[in-house]
Symmetry: C2
Subunit: 455 residues, 2 copies
């Protein structure tokens, strides 16, 4: 007999949690649909080739690989032994694994577009809400199986898309009741421009990683780090001026223009940002140009986003995204530019719990529990129940005739708001007693009235 | 560069297919909720211990195992080598795999109940709609990754549950428009009784497997098979009489009663069936007592179900289920009886395609495409579009100003029913032209009227 347990870093979601998570998923899904995005689902498994080498060396290690079947096949033993030697030497692993669990939704999406590009009509706007798996060390808020929630447009260079994605953040957070969110915006070409002025474009990643820490370690330590990376005093002065850029969005744009507008990259970045900031609809949303925003993923080439919850909850990033020039190029289909965003659903869930933002009735599944008070009584209840179900009202008849207490307790534990009692007296009089457990009230009405009752 | 492909037996679901599948899932989910079932989600991964040994020897082989991470860890090499030897000898596999992908939803559900039984309120009614994985040889209609769709009640012996599950089949198929479905019902104890009369209860599986083939191979070959299994002529006569049971449900009940009602198992089986057949609500649904129905899974102990689509589509079983006495006993928590059913979503999808049962508008995502006819025109369109989106109308603005043809084609390929044109003339007059692509009609109205248009 097995003592049951769950794999580390994975979770069961019981009914209450599923309902709350679905509330978030449905809100996001509806907004994606309002903006013309279409659903896509790809399998949990991908060929190992599709995934390996796409997430850097560290990423490769975090991919969950699936054991090939047939390891118990004696005919194959020699081959398997040889392959296993290679695995132990850190080389090819094909002999024992050819498939893996997907690590994110972006690479499978690129793979899908590459396979189907001749059938798709571009721009192709898809959203995808599915689990992904990472063999990371589990810790608070970090899981080995978790949902991602992405929307991407591919096949369009228009900055209309960026404006709409920013509006999607606004609309989702507003509908969820997350008020003090902030969408930070930057442009990879602005970071490129800074790097060009500080020793060359190839330094961009190092510089981006350092300045991204400004909030945590302060300007002096950022400069120390960059000094170690070989930046000279002049270059450090440029970085310092860059980090000092402040004010409202248009003041920041002016300052950046002075600082990096002399480079081609800088000009292009500023131009793009201006275009989306000029969209009058963005004035109603809470976005902020943040020149230190970098986003880790190397495939971003244009505008980048990060969404944060309000300071009070200290939960950090609840979404991110950006523009990329050539994702499907990885799979032999070049020149399909795109832009996308993602929502961090686990963190959004935590924010909503902490700020008590879920609606009061998010727990309600069954609306009515019919008490079971004997054979004839429950037959009558069953008949009424079927009529209510045909009117799309969710109800249950308690499964056995036991005392009131136990039946009440069941209703309470299951968050059922109404209880209906048909005992021998009610049966005789064709009535029923409705108890509203939330308001602690009750009334007796005819069974006919019950069918038109406003639950 | 990788030439992209999908793992054998897995599928991408593009937008149209996802919408159709969601139509089925949502219908089933709503009916489950109408009957008081609550959602549960368990992880894709389970500990290998949880799954192994639960599906028979063949089943164990079909479980997809996940490779442990850290195979590239030099410190662990000796251990890994030793463990790998054991794998090659068909023994313990812990050193290289400790986790696996779930094979069905039932065992993870039992594991969940066993872990959480102190917190749950019984009867616990859960539904679960999630993918499962099997390393089966892929063929038409058989996949390595597919969805299961289950509802189970645990912690109740009441046959009310069986009656409701039969009604759920009826309600789901009716809502989906699948008219000539049939729910076959039998009772494992009736099969036990037959076996007891034919050489002993331990023969039940062999007898069940043989008589289940009646439709395909005919009565003589069934008898041949059973003769080889050691049944004597008297016993074969009993089987023949059993297979000859026919008529309507109550005639069949009478015949079975004569044949096997002398045994305790037989009496109990007939009693249970009588009770649920007496539920007046079942008279409206299409069910049929089928004494040859066996269902493969050994854990069934009571009433069993199988749902079939009409003969015309030749797709066979589209659902099944039954009662079990002690599923959580596998995980050390005995005495929690239960009953459940399952829907075969891939097959239901095929039935609906073949009979053309999906609603005409199942493809419609975006309702309106605004044409892009220049900078000022599209700015005006964008403003109207945001107002419509706030009214929950799904719309898009084409991403660039190109000729009409291309924009029309986009709308058509995406099944968008309305196109709205705001050109320079409309911009000046504050009007717009609406084209209904389905009806091939158009009209020009004021932009104010558009906001109250009934799409």
């Amino acid at each position: 007999m097995t003592k049951p347990s769950l794999p580390q870093g994975t979770r069961d979601f019981g009914p209450d949690v599923v309902r709350k998570r679905n509330y978030i998923f449905n809100t996001i899904r509806n907004v994606f649909e309002l903006y013309g995005f279409q659903p896509l689902e790809t399998p949990a498994m991908e060929n190992l080739d599709t995934l390996m080498g796409k997430y850097g060396e560290e990423g490769d290690k975090l991919i969950f690989k699936i054991l090939n079947n047939g390891l118990d096949n004696a005919d194959k033993e020699k081959q398997i032994r040889e392959d296993f030697e290679k695995v132990l030497q850190g080389k090819n692993v094909k002999g024992i694994t050819e498939r893996a669990l997907k690590y994110d939704l972006t690479i499978p999406f690129a793979r899908y577009v590459a396979i189907n590009h001749n059938q798709l009509s571009f721009p192709f706007k898809r959203y995808q809400i599915q689990p992904v798996w990472r063999a990371d060390r589990p810790q608070k808020g970090r899981y080995r199986e978790f949902y991602q929630c992405d929307a991407d447009v591919v096949g369009s260079n228009s900055l209309l898309n960026e404006a709409e994605l920013a509006l999607i953040y606004h609309q989702v957070f507003t509908q969820l009741g997350i008020k003090n969110y902030e969408v930070k915006i930057n442009h990879r070409k602005i970071l490129t421009a800074l790097a060009e002025l500080c020793g060359g474009a190839e330094k961009m990643n190092e510089i981006a990683i350092a300045i991204d820490k400004l909030d945590k370690i302060g300007v002096e330590k950022v400069k120390d780090e960059l000094k170690q990376k070989g930046l000279n005093e002049n270059q450090l002065t440029v970085v310092e001026r860059y980090l000092a850029v402040e004010g409202n969005n248009s003041e920041k744009m002016d300052a950046l223009n002075t600082l990096i507008g002399t480079t081609e990259s800088g000009r292009k970045g500023i131009e793009d940002l201006k275009e989306i900031f000029n969209n009058p609809h963005l004035s109603s949303i809470s976005y902020q140009l943040d020149p230190t925003l970098a986003r880790g993923l190397n495939y971003y080439t244009g505008i980048i986003f990060e969404a944060k919850a309000s300071e009070e909850v200290k939960i950090g990033s609840i979404g991110g995204g950006g523009r990329y020039d050539d994702l499907t190029g990885l799979f032999g289909v070049p020149n399909i530019p795109g832009v996308g965003i993602s929502f961090g659903v686990d963190r959004i869930y935590d924010v909503m719990e902490e700020l008590n933002l879920f609606p009061d009735d998010v727990h309600v599944g069954t609306q009515i529990l019919f008490f079971n008070l004997g054979e004839n009584e429950s037959k009558a209840a069953f008949t009424i129940m079927q009529q209510l179900r045909n009117k799309n009202i969710r109800c249950e008849l308690y499964h056995e005739n036991v005392k009131f207490d136990k039946q009440f307790k069941y209703a309470e534990k299951k968050n059922i708001p109404y209880v209906i009692i048909i005992g021998s007296k009610e049966l005789e009089e064709n009535t029923c007693t409705i108890k509203n457990l939330l308001q602690n009230s009750q009334q007796t009405i005819s069974q006919q009235e019950l069918l038109n009752y406003d639950f």
